[in-house]
Subunit: 365 residues, 2 copies
Amino acid sequence: MATSRLKVVLDQERSYDIRVGCKLLENLGTHLRELSSAKKAVIITDSNVGSLYLETTKKALVEAEFEVYDLTIPAGEESKNIEVATELWDALAMLNIGRDGLLLALGGGVVGDITGFIAATYMRGIDFVQLPTSLLAMVDSSVGGKTAINISAGKNLVGSFYQPIYVAADLDTLVTLPDAEWDNGFAEIAKSAIIDGGEFYEWVLNNVSSLVAHDDDALKQVIVRALTFKARVVIADEKESGLRECLNYGHTFAHALEQVSGYSISHGKAVAEGMRFAARLAVEVIGSSNDFVKAQDDLFDAIGLSPVAESFSSDELFECMFGDKKVRGGNLRFVFACGPGEWKVEIVDPDLAKIYIILWEQARM
Amino acid sequence: MATSRLKVVLDQERSYDIRVGCKLLENLGTHLRELSSAKKAVIITDSNVGSLYLETTKKALVEAEFEVYDLTIPAGEESKNIEVATELWDALAMLNIGRDGLLLALGGGVVGDITGFIAATYMRGIDFVQLPTSLLAMVDSSVGGKTAINISAGKNLVGSFYQPIYVAADLDTLVTLPDAEWDNGFAEIAKSAIIDGGEFYEWVLNNVSSLVAHDDDALKQVIVRALTFKARVVIADEKESGLRECLNYGHTFAHALEQVSGYSISHGKAVAEGMRFAARLAVEVIGSSNDFVKAQDDLFDAIGLSPVAESFSSDELFECMFGDKKVRGGNLRFVFACGPGEWKVEIVDPDLAKIYIILWEQARM
C-alpha cells in the first residue's frame, strides 16, 4: 500500500510533512536526515509502546547516523505531569542535548503531548518529530501543535503551541492497538466527520462496517481524511482564536466527565458522550432538530461508542465545567453542531447547563 | 520628564509598546485598558518589590476596572524554579483565570522570566505585561521575549520565546534599587554599548560619571538607547538563530561562573567578568588587539564593575561550560568582540578554553 503524504504549511518558516502508510518506522532514517542535521536524537516513548517499536525506531535512526538515546516514561495519562516533565528536562541536560538536538515522540497522545511540551520548552525550543502509534494520536494530537501536561487543577492546563518538523503515522503499529484505543480514535474521527459534514460525513456513514472491521485501506483513507480536515482547520486558525474552536465539540462536558471520573473514562468515550450531551443542549439553546440528535446517536452506536452508563454527581460535573479552560471571563462556552457540517459557539446560561447536567445524571440513576 | 515610547514590531500580529518614564505605574490602568479586554488581572511580584510598589499598581488596575489579584513569590533567583512555577499555575487555575486573563510581572528579571514562562504556558499562552523595576530588567529581560526557569542541571534551561503585550519601565522604581542591582544594569548597558559600538558606545564613555551618579536624564537616555539596540536585534532575529547571538557576549563564561559560585555572584558581575575573559581569549583566537582588552577593562572599572576577585575551580568551570546551552552538537561557541561594534561567533577548541580558564583561576590564587 502506498504511503499518503500531506503537508501542513503554516508560514514560510514553519511547515511540516505528514506521512501515513506502512513500514514508516523502519524507513524513518533517510527522510529524517533530509530534515535534520542533528547529531543526537532522543526517542521518548512509554513502557507499552517501547517494548513493541523502540528497537525498530532506534535501528532506523542509527542507520541514518544519529547518535540515539531513549527515555521511557510509564504508560498512561498519569505520566503527563510536571514531575515526569522535570525528569525529562533533567535527562536531556544530562545527555548534553543542545539546541540542535532532536526529540522523537514514539507513542500515543500522552507521549506526543509531553514530548511536544518538552521540545517546546527545553532551551526555549528544539526540533521534534511525532511518531503516533495510536489511531487517536494519528488523527488528532499529532497535528495542530497542541502540546500539554496536566496539573492538579485540570487536564492540559499547562502547555504551548509548538509544531513538529515531521509526522509519520505508521499503520503497522495499529496491529497491537487495544480495543479501548480504537474507541478513542473512532470518537475523534466521528467528531471530525460531523463538524466537517459533506463528503467526509457521508464516507464515514457508508464505511462504518469496514472501519469497525479494521480494514487497512479504509483506515488509511479515514486517517488521511481526518488529518486533511484537521490540517485545514489548523492552517486557517493556528492559535485557536476562532475557527479551530470547532475541534472542541463535545469537550466542555467531556473534560468535566474525565475529571469527575478520575480519568477512568477514556478521552474518546468522554468526547462521544460530550457530543451526545451538546446535541441535546443544542435543541434547547439554538433550536436544532431532534433528528440530528438521533442521527448522531446512531453513528456513535454503529461505530461502537455506546453511551456512558455510569452516573456521576451533577454538582461535581458542573463545578469541573466552570473550572475548565474553555470558560472565558466566567462564561460557559459550548461548541454546538446543529447538523453535519454546521457548528457554532454559544455562551450558555450556567443555570441551563446545570439543568441538562442534572437530567444527564438522573437518566443514569 | 516626558515619557519615551518605543515600539517593537515583530509582525502584523505580534508587536508591543515599551514606555520609559516616571509615574508609569500609577497611570498604568488607562493605557492597559486600550490593550486588553481582560476582566481579571493577576500581578505576580516578589517579596521585596511587592511591599514597595504592589499597592500603587493594584490601585491603577482597579481604577481601570480590572478584577485584580496578586501572587507574591520569594525574592531571589532561587524562586525561578519548577516548584514555584507549579504553584503559580495552580494558583491561576484556582482563581479561574481563563485564556483571556492578563498577567503582570512587577519586579526584576526573576519575576519577569518566570511570569513570562507562566504566561507562555498557562492554557498554552495568555497575555502578559512586563513592569520591570530594576535597571537590568528595564534594559534586558523585559525585551526580547526570552522567558525561563532554572532546573537543577542549569540556568534558564527551560523556557520559551513569548512576547509581552506591553512593557512599562517606571524610573521612579529605581529610587529603591540596591547597589548590586545597579551593577547588574550597568553590565548589561556596557555589553550593549560594546556590541553596538559607534554613537552608543561613545555616549556611554562620555557619560559614565552621570550614570554612576544615577542622574535621571542620563538613565532615561541610556535605557532608551539600550532598549533601541536590543529591540533592533530582536526584530532582526526573533529566534536567536543568528544575529541575536551577539547578546550572549560574555555569557559562556558568565553562566559557568554563576553556576560554580552557586549564584552568589550577580548576573551582571558575572557577565562583565565573562566579557573580560572573552576579550582575552579573543586575542588568541581571532587576533584582536590588546588595546581593546584595556579599553574594555577601563570602561568596566569606571562604571563600577571591578573584576571578580574570588577564585573558583577551573575543572568545575570547564565542566559547567560544556553543559551550557550555548554548546551546539558538542562544540564550544563563544561570542567575541574585537572592538566596539565588531563581534563574531567562533567555535573554540575546548583545550584552548581550558588553558584560559586555568590562567583565570591562577591569577586569583
